[in-house]
Amino acid sequence: MSKTTATRARPLSPHLQIYKPIPTMMMSIIHRITGVALYFGTLLVAIWLMAAAGTAEGFARVQGIYGSWLGLFVLFGYSWVLFHHMLGGIRHLVMDTGSEAALGKDESRRAAVAMPVVSFALAILVWVVAIMARGA
């Protein structure tokens, strides 16, 4: 006869807080956070365009704000977040194919750990090019 009563307490419904954070899970969460940040970041591009469609003075004012320390800080953040979300998005698309290369335990962990670093490097690269282009 098999015993039907549970011999130990069953796990409770899992809440986010009780998981041990692991890289793939963090990247999933960060993909969502970066998506929401970019949602509002699109405004930065739209405002810049609208300023270019307006007067020279208005455009200069917007460029002044974007070129201030706070503006540059926000724009750098925007570019980092954009690259991060793009890499994450590409990762999502590869995972959607069911490919072992993206879903294997070690492979997915390695890709997740690399993302903040690679996206940061790409953002730095873009800014170096931008600063050099401006200086030239």
Partner: protein
């Protein structure tokens, strides 16, 4: 009152009437389109940092640039609208708040898109 609609008509838009994967699919399609469009936009903005007003306008008025920037807005705004809708549906459970936010999420990308495309066309054709 008798319902004049067909069974299919009654369930359409309510869930699984062969449109369940449409949202997912469009999120992926716009994601794929976003990659080249976002890269182009980053390149454009890098090329134009600190450029004088007239140069920025002349570049934006180039037909190819105008076209790609319009595509950028269409794809990105649709993508982010789809994405934000899922976020709202996941976290906002009060019926009133949810409907209000989903309405806002429809208006916000639309207004930004129309305003940006109008700005571009104004630069391209406004003289």
């Amino acid at each position: 009152m008798t319902d004049m609609r067909t069974p299919l008509g009654r369930v359409r838009g309510l869930g699984s009437a062969r449109e369940g994967t449409m949202h997912f699919w469009r999120q992926r399609l716009t994601a794929i389109a976003n990659v080249p469009l976002v890269l182009f936009m980053v390149g454009l903005m890098v090329a134009l940092v600190g450029a004088p007003y007239e140069d920025v306008r002349a570049t934006l008025a180039n037909p190819f640039v105008t076209l790609v920037v319009i595509l950028f807005f269409v794809s990105v705004l649709y993508h982010m609208k789809l994405g934000m809708q899922i976020v709202i549906e996941d976290y906002v459970h009060g019926e009133g708040a949810k409907v209000a936010l989903i309405a806002l999420n429809t208006f916000f990308p639309l207004v930004i898109g129309v305003a940006s495309i109008f700005a571009l066309l104004n630069i391209a054709f406004g003289g």
